[in-house]
């Protein structure tokens, strides 16, 4: 009997708020977080009669940079388009976005095991205002604040290449890292400067049969309003389970939009009318098209630092660094830059890189030593120092402990400062040659055994 399993087919949509000073189409500041409502607006982003958009050069540059770092092709000719729909937080009744000729197309990302995941497109658009629902008196109202209206937003859409939740999480984390590396955004999930949406369906595949035709399923469910990486994982797991159960029963999964309830760990339907939305796109007449020449793109390419996934490969392969240390360095660009300096300088010191990484991570020595060279010097000294042997420590410690039974009682009863006194006494006996940590560990073990 043939056995089947259901393989997830997942595509992602990531929205990233750019960290430009100015909004996308007007001179308002793009800093909108936690300020009084409607104090960061102008005729343009407020959609007043007669206002016209004027694009932000820096936003376009950041989008191109981001696209190049994900190996996208940059369209030589690109334009903005109007996307029409009515909603109270959309001040013009249309959003200026990009439809058929986005700035970036056809890129990819590689996972740590070199699996390739294709990026369909990356484009620029403007953000909407914010709505909150509140009860005033006995009625419910929607309160609208346009401070966020017009902030530059980058939208990244992947092909539905993901079938493993771990890859999805690794990818979105790298998107966040890339944003920070390129200084295009802080990509903060909590602040809403990075937002995630996932499209999920399941494909029926015969177990064990290789090289099956990778057809796309005939439906997809859109998961929205996921505001943390943790919830993304749980939401995907919950939805995959839900769809698997339905398909196993021989039923069809309804194509719809769903949200995730973190309390029940279930996805729920946000069913809106099922007809495809008609956005009536047409080219934005108020903004001339944007052309990019190869020369320009080449110059921008030189401005792009090493991306996290490249660095990850290098640390793993060339340095043999532990995965957890790698991720710690990747997360923090400053620390990463520090470590790169160490790599350069270490050619002269010849210390073990894993050892150095360990010292930095566990003892925050990069904070202690502002200069990487000084850190290397300090570690070299440490290494060359001759410590008292374990046997010498044992002898010194045993004799001190014997002489201080009352102190030990006090220590056991909670007087922690006694520990310092004991360590000091032992170190004195050793003429300062004891490794403090080793001494402490010996005392702690001795106490436990007693």
């Amino acid at each position: 009997m043939k056995k089947y399993n259901y393989v997830p087919v997942i595509g992602l949509e990531v929205h990233i708020e750019l960290s430009t000073k100015r909004k996308m189409f007007c001179d308002c500041s793009s800093e909108h977080f936690q300020i009084k409502p409607n104090t960061n607006v102008c005729p343009i982003c407020l959609g007043l009669p007669g206002a016209l958009p004027y694009p932000n050069k820096e936003a376009v540059k950041k989008c191109i940079k981001f696209g190049i770092s994900f190996n996208c092709m940059i369209n030589k000719f690109s334009k903005f388009d109007r996307k029409h729909y009515f909603y109270p937080d959309l001040s013009k009744g249309y959003q200026i976005s990009q439809y058929d000729i986005p700035f970036c197309e056809g890129g990819h990302w590689k996972s740590s095991v070199n699996s390739v995941f294709r990026i369909k497109r990356i484009h620029l658009e403007e953000d909407t205002g914010k709505i909150q629902h509140r009860k005033i008196g006995s009625e419910y109202f929607s309160l609208i604040d346009f401070n966020r209206s017009g902030v530059p937003l980058m939208e990244l859409v992947t092909e539905p290449d993901f079938s493993n939740i771990n890859d999805v999480l690794d990818f979105v984390k790298d998107v966040q890292l890339a944003s920070r590396y390129l200084e295009v955004s802080n990509a903060d999930m909590e602040k809403g400067s990075m937002r995630l949406e996932a499209n999920i369906s399941l494909r029926k595949e015969e177990t064990g049969k290789r090289d099956q035709m990778k057809r796309l399923p005939d439906y997809k469910v859109e998961l929205k309003n996921i505001n943390s990486f943790r919830f993304l994982r749980s939401a995907l797991e919950a939805e995959i389970k839900r769809q698997t159960d339905i398909l196993k029963m021989g039923d069809k999964v309804i194509q719809e939009t769903r949200g995730y309830n973190e309390k029940t760990h279930q996805t729920y339907s946000q069913r809106s009318k099922e007809e495809a939305k008609d956005y009536r796109y047409f080219p934005e007449p108020d903004i001339p098209p944007i052309l990019h020449q190869s020369k320009e793109i080449d110059i921008i390419k030189t401005d792009i630092p090493e991306m996290p996934w490249m660095k990850r490969q290098r640390y793993k392969k060339d340095i043999g660094l532990k995965d957890e240390y790698t991720e710690i360095f990747l997360k923090d660009r400053k620390r990463s830059a520090y470590f790169e300096q160490i790599l350069l300088l270490n050619k002269n010191s010849g210390l073990d890189l894993s050892y150095i990484a360990d010292q930095i991570v566990n003892k925050n020595l990069d904070l202690k030593y502002q200069s990487p060279q000084k850190l290397l010097n300090a570690l070299s000294v440490e290494k060359n120092k001759t410590y008292a042997s374990s046997k010498e420590i044992k002898n010194a410690a045993d004799s001190v402990l014997k002489e201080n039974t009352k102190a030990i009682e006090d220590l056991k009863n909670g007087k922690i400062q006694i520990l310092g006194y004991l360590i000091g006494s032992i170190q004195k006996k050793l003429n300062g040659k004891g490794n403090i940590n080793e001494i402490r560990r010996y005392i702690e073990n001795a106490l436990m055994e007693n």
Binding site: P37, N40, P88
Partner: protein, 100 residues
């Protein structure tokens, strides 16, 4: 003769958030059908080699530098609305992308 059905008129009114009554549906169906029928004469024009014109200026790459300037004061921003609440614009609760 191109005929725009009543159901299409209703759908268009919905898309455009325009309220129309039965009489208007009838009238618009007739009028719009006539106009659309007239403009369909464009099908007679050979546009095989024509690139669509959406702007006549021929301009490209018009952008502004990443500099900010002063925004409106809150009272000016919300002052033209009849429904405000503590600096917010206030509308009845939205359901399904439509205001009730």
């Amino acid at each position: 003769m191109i005929k725009i059905k009543h159901s299409e008129i209703v759908h268009l009114a919905d898309l455009a958030q325009i309220k129309i009554n039965k009489k208007e549906i009838q009238k618009l169906s007739l009028q719009l059908s006539k106009i659309v029928d007239y403009v369909s004469e464009l099908n007679d024009v050979d546009t095989k080699n024509a690139v669509p014109t959406n702007q006549t200026t021929g301009l490209t790459n018009v952008t502004n530098d990443d500099l900010t300037s002063i925004s409106l004061k809150q009272e000016d921003a919300v002052g033209q609305s009849k429904n405000i609440y503590q600096g917010f614009f206030k509308v009845p609760i939205t359901i399904k992308n439509k205001i009730i």
